[in-house]
C-alpha cells in the first residue's frame, strides 16, 4: 500500500519541485510584463509631450508625412502615431524579455533571433522614412525647376522622379530586411527598368506629337530670351 502511495506521490512531488523551481521564472516574467507595460505607457506619454513641444505635427504636415498617413487611412495625429509605434516596439521588446525569463530553449532562440533582427528592422525603417523625405524633396525641386523653365509637363516629370526614387527606397528597405533578396532585386530591376522603358516608349513613340509640341515651344523661347527685359 505504501508503495502505491509513493507511486502516486512521487510524480506530484516532482511536479511540485519543478513548479517551485519554475515559479520564480513565471513571477519574473509577470513582473517584467507588468512593469514593462507601465514603463512603456509612461514613455509613450513623455514622447507625446516631447513631440508636441518640438512641433512634430507641423513638421509632418510640411514634409507631407501627414498626407501619406491620410492616404493610408490613418487618421491619428503624426505625433500620436509615432508615440504609438514606439510604444508597440517597446511592448514587443518587453514580451521578448519576459519570455526569455522563462529560460525555455525555444523562447531563448526566438529572443536571440529577434534581437539579431532588430538592427535590420530599424535600418529598414530609417531608410523608408529618410528615403520618403528625400524623394519628396527632389520631386518638389524638379517640379519647381520644370515649372520655372516653362516646361509644360512639369507635374508628370516630378511625379516620375518621385516614383523612381520611391521604388529605389522600397527596394533598399526590403533588401535590408533580407526578405527574399533574390526576388526583391529581380522585382526592382523589372519595375525600375520597366518604368524607364515605358518612359522611353511614351516619349519616343506614343508622345511624338507631344514631343514635337515641346520642341516647338522651346525653340522660340530660346530665341526670345536675348531680348527679354532686365529684371534687376
Amino acid at each position: 500500500m505504501q508503495d502505491f502511495f509513493r507511486l502516486i506521490w512521487e510524480p506530484v512531488k516532482e511536479i511540485y519541485f519543478t513548479f517551485r523551481e519554475f515559479a520564480p521564472n513565471i513571477l519574473a516574467m509577470l513582473l517584467i510584463f507588468l512593469f514593462g507595460f507601465l514603463l512603456a505607457r509612461i514613455f509613450r506619454g513623455l514622447l507625446r509631450r516631447f513631440l508636441k513641444i518640438v512641433k512634430f505635427d507641423a513638421w509632418s504636415d510640411r514634409m507631407g508625412l501627414t498626407a501619406v498617413m491620410r492616404k493610408a487611412d490613418m487618421w491619428r495625429r503624426p505625433s500620436e502615431a509615432a508615440a504609438a509605434l514606439v510604444f508597440w516596439f517597446l511592448l514587443l521588446g518587453i514580451l521578448m524579455a519576459g519570455l526569455s525569463a522563462l529560460h525555455f530553449q525555444v523562447f531563448d532562440n526566438l529572443v536571440a533571433r529577434f534581437i539579431l533582427y532588430l538592427p535590420r528592422a530599424f535600418s529598414a525603417l530609417f531608410i523608408l522614412i529618410f528615403g520618403y523625405i528625400v524623394a519628396a524633396f527632389f520631386g518638389r525641386a524638379v517640379l519647381l525647376t520644370a515649372v520655372n523653365s516653362g516646361y509644360h509637363y512639369a507635374r508628370l516629370l516630378a511625379e516620375t522622379v518621385r516614383l523612381l526614387l520611391t521604388v529605389l527606397v522600397l527596394a533598399m528597405a526590403l533588401e535590408q530586411l533580407q526578405l527574399a533578396p533574390g526576388i526583391v532585386i529581380a522585382a526592382f530591376s523589372i519595375i525600375f527598368g520597366g518604368i524607364i522603358l515605358a518612359l522611353a516608349i511614351s516619349f519616343g513613340v506614343g508622345g511624338i506629337d507631344a514631343a514635337r509640341k515641346m520642341i516647338e515651344r522651346q525653340e522660340p523661347a530660346a530665341e526670345e530670351k536675348k531680348k527679354d527685359i532686365e529684371h534687376i
Binding site: R140, V147, G150, E230, H231, I232
Partner: protein, 416 residues
C-alpha cells in the same frame, strides 16, 4: 582676403587714400575700359586734390578684363577741361577670393577701403555704357563733404526694366524702413569709410549676400542702422545685355531671400515704422532717351498658368485658400484682360516673407515657387503699362508702394 603679394606691395606703396572707387567684374573686357576711363576722368575733374584709388575686384575673368583695366587710361585730360591733377591716381586690379559673386568682389573692395583709410568710396558696375565722369561727383561729394554715409543711385530706366526692383524690392524696402530710395538694388553706390567698416564687420560672406544679395544688403544695412542716406540722379542706366543664360530663378531667390533675411535681423527697427518719407536728392533731373525693350508676355503668362496648375498645393500652404482662389481665377483670364491687383500682390509678398521667417518650407523651394507669381505680376504690369508713358507707369509703381505701406500692419501682426 587680400593675400596676393603684389597687391600688398601696392597698398604699402600707396599708404592711404581719400577716395576709393571699386569696380567688380567678371568677363567684362569689352566694357570695363570705358568705365575705368569715366571714373578716372571724374576723379581728375572733380577731386584733383584728393588722393584716389581705383580697385578692380575680379572674379577670375578669362577674357583679359584685368588687362583691359590696366590699359584703360584717359590720355588727354585737357579735352575734359581738366587743367591739372595735384594728387596721384592709382589703379589696382586683383582677383578676389571666396564664393564667386558680386558680394565677394565688394568685400575685397571694403577691405581695401579700410586698409587705406578711405573717407569716401563708390562702387560702379563694370558693364555700364552710360556712366559719365559726373557720376563720381554725384556719388562721392555728398559723402566727402561729411553730410551723408550712403548715396543710392536714381536712374531713368525703361518702364519695363528693373521689375524685381519695381514690384518687390522698392515697395518692400520703402514700407519697411520708411525711406523712399527708388533704386535700392541699383548697384552703383557711394558710401563713407565708416559705413565700409560697418559692412566689413558683418559675417555674411558665405550667404546669398556674397552673390546678387549684396545690393539690397548694403542699402538695408545703411537704412536700418541709421546711417545718413541720400540719392543721386545719374541719368540713364544703360549696360550690356545680361548673359541670356543667367538664371532668373536664382537671381530672384538671392535678392528676395537676402531682403527677407534682413527683415528678421531688423525686425526691431521696421516694426515701429509707418508710412515713408523722401530722402535728400542730388543731381539735375533731365529726360533721357531710353532703349526699347521687348517683352515676351506670352511666355511669362505661360509659366504663371503652369504654376497655378502645378504649384497650387504649395502656394495654398503659403498664401491660404482665399488668395489661391484669386490666382486660379486670374489664370483663366484672357491675355487682354489679365490684371494682377496690387492688393493681391502685396499680400503675396508679405505672406512669402512670413513663410520665409517661419521656415514653413525649404527656403530654397519657397523662393523658387515665387518665380511664376512674379512673372504673372510682371506680365500684368507690362500689359497694363503698354499704353502708358514713363510718368504714368511710375504712378502705378507709386500706387503699389502705398499698397505695401497700407498693408504693413498685417505683416507686423503676423510676424512671430
Amino acid at each position: 582676403m587680400i593675400n596676393r603679394q603684389e597687391v600688398s606691395q601696392q597698398l604699402r606703396a600707396i599708404g592711404s587714400a581719400d577716395i576709393l572707387v571699386g569696380i567688380p567684374s567678371f568677363n567684362n573686357a569689352r566694357t570695363i575700359g570705358h568705365v575705368v576711363k569715366a571714373v578716372q576722368a571724374g576723379l581728375a575733374k572733380y577731386f584733383p586734390e584728393h588722393k584716389a584709388v581705383l580697385v578692380n575686384s575680379d572674379g577670375g575673368s578669362r577674357d583679359g578684363t584685368m588687362d583691359a583695366v590696366d590699359r584703360a587710361v584717359v590720355e588727354d585730360l585737357h579735352s575734359l577741361l581738366v587743367r591739372h591733377r595735384v594728387e596721384p591716381f592709382h589703379k589696382i586690379a586683383m582677383p578676389y577670393s571666396g564664393i564667386p559673386g558680386k558680394g565677394s568682389a565688394f568685400r575685397a573692395i571694403f577691405e581695401l577701403a579700410d586698409t587705406l583709410g578711405a573717407k569716401a568710396c563708390a562702387v560702379v558696375d563694370s558693364d555700364l555704357r552710360s556712366i559719365t565722369p559726373e557720376w563720381m561727383e554725384l556719388l562721392l561729394t555728398p559723402v566727402l563733404d561729411g553730410q551723408f554715409d550712403f548715396v543710392a543711385p536714381q536712374y531713368h530706366r525703361h518702364k519695363y526694366d528693373g521689375t524685381i526692383t519695381n514690384s518687390i524690392i522698392y515697395p518692400l524696402t520703402r514700407a519697411l524702413y520708411g525711406k523712399r530710395l527708388r533704386q535700392p538694388i541699383g548697384g552703383d553706390f557711394g558710401f563713407s569709410g565708416r559705413l565700409a567698416r560697418h559692412y566689413l564687420g558683418k559675417d555674411v560672406w558665405q550667404t546669398d549676400i556674397a552673390r546678387y544679395g549684396i545690393d539690397i544688403w548694403m542699402t538695408s544695412e545703411a537704412l536700418a542702422n541709421g546711417f545718413r542716406t541720400a540719392q543721386a540722379f545719374l541719368g540713364a542706366k544703360i549696360h550690356d545685355a545680361k548673359d541670356p543664360g543667367s538664371d532668373l530663378s536664382a537671381m530672384l531667390a538671392q535678392v528676395v531671400g537676402s531682403a527677407f533675411s534682413l527683415m528678421a535681423e531688423y525686425h526691431g527697427v521696421w516694426k515701429e515704422i509707418r508710412g515713408s518719407a523722401s530722402v535728400p536728392q542730388f543731381g539735375f533731373q533731365y529726360t533721357v532717351g531710353l532703349e526699347s525693350v521687348n517683352v515676351d508676355v506670352g511666355r511669362m503668362l505661360g509659366i504663371f498658368r503652369n504654376g497655378v496648375r502645378d504649384l497650387g498645393a504649395l502656394w495654398q500652404s503659403v498664401l491660404g485658400r482665399g488668395d489661391l482662389d484669386a490666382l486660379n481665377a486670374l489664370a483663366t483670364a484672357p491675355e487682354n484682360e489679365f490684371r494682377f491687383p496690387p492688393s493681391l500682390w502685396t499680400r503675396i509678398i508679405y505672406d512669402y516673407a512670413l513663410a520665409y521667417h517661419k521656415k514653413s518650407l525649404s527656403r530654397e523651394h519657397l523662393l523658387k515657387s515665387l518665380v511664376p507669381l512674379y512673372l504673372g505680376r510682371t506680365a500684368a504690369f507690362v500689359l497694363e503699362a503698354a499704353a502708358m508713358g514713363q510718368d504714368e507707369a511710375e504712378a502705378e509703381i507709386e500706387k503699389l508702394c502705398l499698397e505695401f505701406e497700407g498693408a504693413k500692419p498685417y505683416l507686423v501682426a503676423n510676424w512671430r
